[in-house]
């Protein structure tokens, strides 16, 4: 309870008597609180609003200015163009190839990275071996290393085995760079489980995989939801690895979006650019709004314990 809330309660009581469930009145303090929050909310919402209205305007209307106004003449053409025919250099296929590439990359990278991290976390919690703690330490160190330090040798390494600029290549890269945080997530989760679960499995004669599949896997559903949210948004939003490792054939949506918007040929169509931007942001936004508090939990789980 805060003094603002207390004083608001007191003043309300003095005016109208202590009737009703929660006496509330707007003191200056309360108004201040809401004013601050609403102004902040406007700041956060403004770009989304601008994106939406710009994407629905015609180019002549955009050239008149009035950034924040609702379109006088509503048009959905920019959306169609962004999806289907917008150009990057000489290719005019819109964002859709990028979208499907991102779907492919995400659909493959998410399960692979999560299964590997799950096994890592399980082994690190219950089946330590000589050197396993050292490996984990290296992995945690890897979470803090700037990607630029490892990117070039990784390019050379992947080219040597013929995986550079291929779909498996980019999946491997996402798996590698997702591993530190996911392994940490799962290790902390498994370490928080009661050891008796594990011992009971041992008494029943189950081994490494038996305990993993029959006891640990079913128990790790909640943490796996968190991991999926982390990975889907993270991989979909990736730009750096997409630019470097995906190659032209598998260019993800973020890279293609950037190419469409920064392409210098022809006049800049801001409405198409904004429609393309919303389309690229759509998938993680949907994940975010569906997952709600799980998303927050994902951030907290990925970070607090780190």
């Amino acid at each position: 309870m805060t003094t603002e809330a207390i004083s608001s309660g007191l003043s309300a009581g003095a005016l109208s008597g202590p009737r009703g469930p929660k006496p509330k009145s707007l003191t200056i303090g309360r108004i201040g609180v809401y004013a601050f929050l609403i102004l902040s909310a406007l700041f956060f919402l403004m770009p989304l609003w601008v994106m939406i209205v710009t994407s629905l305007k015609t180019m002549p209307e955009i050239r008149e200015g009035h950034l924040f106004n609702w379109p006088a003449l509503l048009t959905f053409d920019p959306w169609l163009k962004a999806w289907d025919t917008a150009c990057t250099g000489r290719d005019c296929n819109g964002l859709k190839p990028g979208f499907w590439n991102s779907v492919k990359i995400t659909a493959l990278s998410v399960p692979v990275s999560i299964v590997i991290a799950m096994i890592n976390g399980y082994a690190l919690s219950f089946w330590k071996y000589k050197g396993s703690e050292f490996l984990f330490g290296v992995l945690v160190f890897g979470a803090f290393v700037p990607y630029q330090v490892v990117i070039y040798p990784l390019i050379i390494g992947l080219s040597k085995v013929g995986l550079f600029a291929t779909l498996p290549g980019i999946v491997i890269v996402h798996t590698i760079f997702g591993m530190p945080i996911l392994t940490l997530l799962y290790r902390n989760f498994f370490a928080s489980l009661p050891i008796e679960l594990f011992k009971a499995g041992r008494v029943d004669g189950a081994g490494f995989w038996g305990i993993f599949f029959r006891i640990m896997l079913p128990m790790s559903v909640p943490i796996t939801i968190v991991a999926i949210i982390l990975q889907v948004t993270g991989i979909w939003n990736d730009f750096l690895f997409g630019t470097v490792f995906a190659g032209r054939e598998n260019m993800p949506m973020t890279v293609q979006l950037n190419n469409i918007v920064t392409t210098t040929t022809g006049i800049r169509e801001y409405n198409v650019n904004m429609a393309a931007t919303i389309l690229t942001a759509a998938v993680p936004l949907v994940v975010y709004f569906i997952s709600g508090k799980w998303f927050v939990r994902g951030i907290a789980a990925g970070a607090v314990k780190g």
Binding site: T2, A5, V33, S40, A41, F44, P47, V50, G65, H66, L67, F68, N120, S125, W127, K128, Y129, L135, V138, F141, G142, F144, V145, P146, Y147, V149, V150, I151, Y152, P153, L154, I155, I156, G157, I176, M179, T183, A191, I195, F198, F208, W209, F212, N237, V244, T254, L257, N258, V261, T262, Y270, N273, T277, T280, P284, L285, A300, A303, V304, G306
Partner: protein, 318 residues
């Protein structure tokens, strides 16, 4: 039962467990399945985070151009690096960007968390609004803000049309202000996370503290600033580390928003490295820059190690 692998640090979350917390080693059963199951981890830890880094460092001492070679030229790449204005400006930019982003993010994030903590209505709605930008890619963030900062059609012109004809708000077109535009875009994307972590920290503070402060007649703002804030070291450290790693890696938003310009006014170390291994085909130079990027991380790790070692020594004496 002692034969079973003993999870030594079960109680200590994260990697921050001190040696003092570790239980005495029990003899572990050698388990081949555990090693097989973690092959990808072994490959990643050793192959990527050790061997790749070693190669980056080795190539930084060579004159590699398009392809890596092993013609060692000593420290010449580093000498060249620190004579290159573009790099020095990159480092300065990163410093300014980092200090501003971290500072504003922590203060604004904590303020938002405190205001969210006032038993407000629609808390979930506000939380969603503050946090949704983080779900979007930094490329999206960069492109949206680039559009809003457009000098002819963006916020500047919209406000001028309302009557303030001298209004100026187009930071990206000027060298002196472009970096601040970048900071604003980055903050819009990430402040919500700081808020969420801080709010979790606030909610974790014992309610007895609040009662005690109330009994002593301490004003709310003082309680928040001098009593509660020092109690949420964990949340602050978490938010801080999260922001720090984001700052050092800053790349996407620069490419999408300014491409390092105008001039070199928003050039960053991460961009410098990538440019040298792609467009500028000067791998040796790029690797020298990459190795320099590793230095702050190593320093942080060394500091943490020293602190832990010191704490252990003190604990040993006591």
């Amino acid at each position: 039962m002692t034969q079973i692998a003993e999870p030594g640090e079960r109680a200590a979350p994260g990697f921050a467990g001190t040696a003092a917390e570790r239980r005495p080693r029990t003899r572990r059963k050698f388990n081949i399945q555990s090693i097989l199951g973690t092959t990808p981890m072994i490959a990643t830890a050793v192959g990527v985070f050790i061997i790749c880094i070693i190669f980056s460092i080795i190539w930084s001492f060579t004159n590699s151009k398009l392809f890596p070679n092993f013609n060692f030229i000593g420290l010449q790449q580093y000498e060249r690096l620190w004579r290159t204005d573009r790099w020095i400006i990159s480092v300065q930019n990163l410093f300014v960007f980092g200090v501003l982003s971290l500072g504003v993010s922590m203060v604004f994030g904590y303020l938002l968390a405190v205001f969210m903590d006032q038993r407000i209505k629609q808390e979930d709605l506000f939380r969603s609004i503050f946090l949704y930008p983080f779900a979007m890619s930094l490329v999206v963030t960069g492109l949206v803000w680039q559009w809003m900062f457009d000098p002819n059609l963006g916020i500047q012109s919209a406000v001028r049309q309302l009557g303030w004809t001298n209004f100026e708000f187009a930071p990206l077109v000027k060298q002196e202000t472009a970096l601040y535009g970048l900071v604003l875009g980055g903050l819009w994307n990430g402040v919500g996370v700081t808020m969420a972590i801080m709010l979790a920290g606030l909610r974790g503070v014992d309610s007895e503290i609040w009662k005690a402060a109330k009994v002593d007649g301490i004003p709310t703002w003082k309680t928040y600033l001098f009593i509660v804030l020092p109690m949420m070291k964990g949340a602050i450290a978490t938010a801080f580390i999260l922001q720090c790693t984001g700052v050092v890696k800053v790349f996407d938003i620069v490419i999408a928003m300014t491409q390092g310009g105008p001039g070199v006014s928003t050039q960053m170390p991460a961009v410098y490295v990538i440019q040298h291994i792609t467009d500028r085909v000067n791998v040796g130079q790029g690797m020298a820059a990459a190795t320099m990027m590793l230095v702050p991380v190593m320093v942080l790790i060394a500091v943490q190690y020293l602190l832990r070692w010191n704490a252990n020594r003190k604990a040993g004496r006591a």
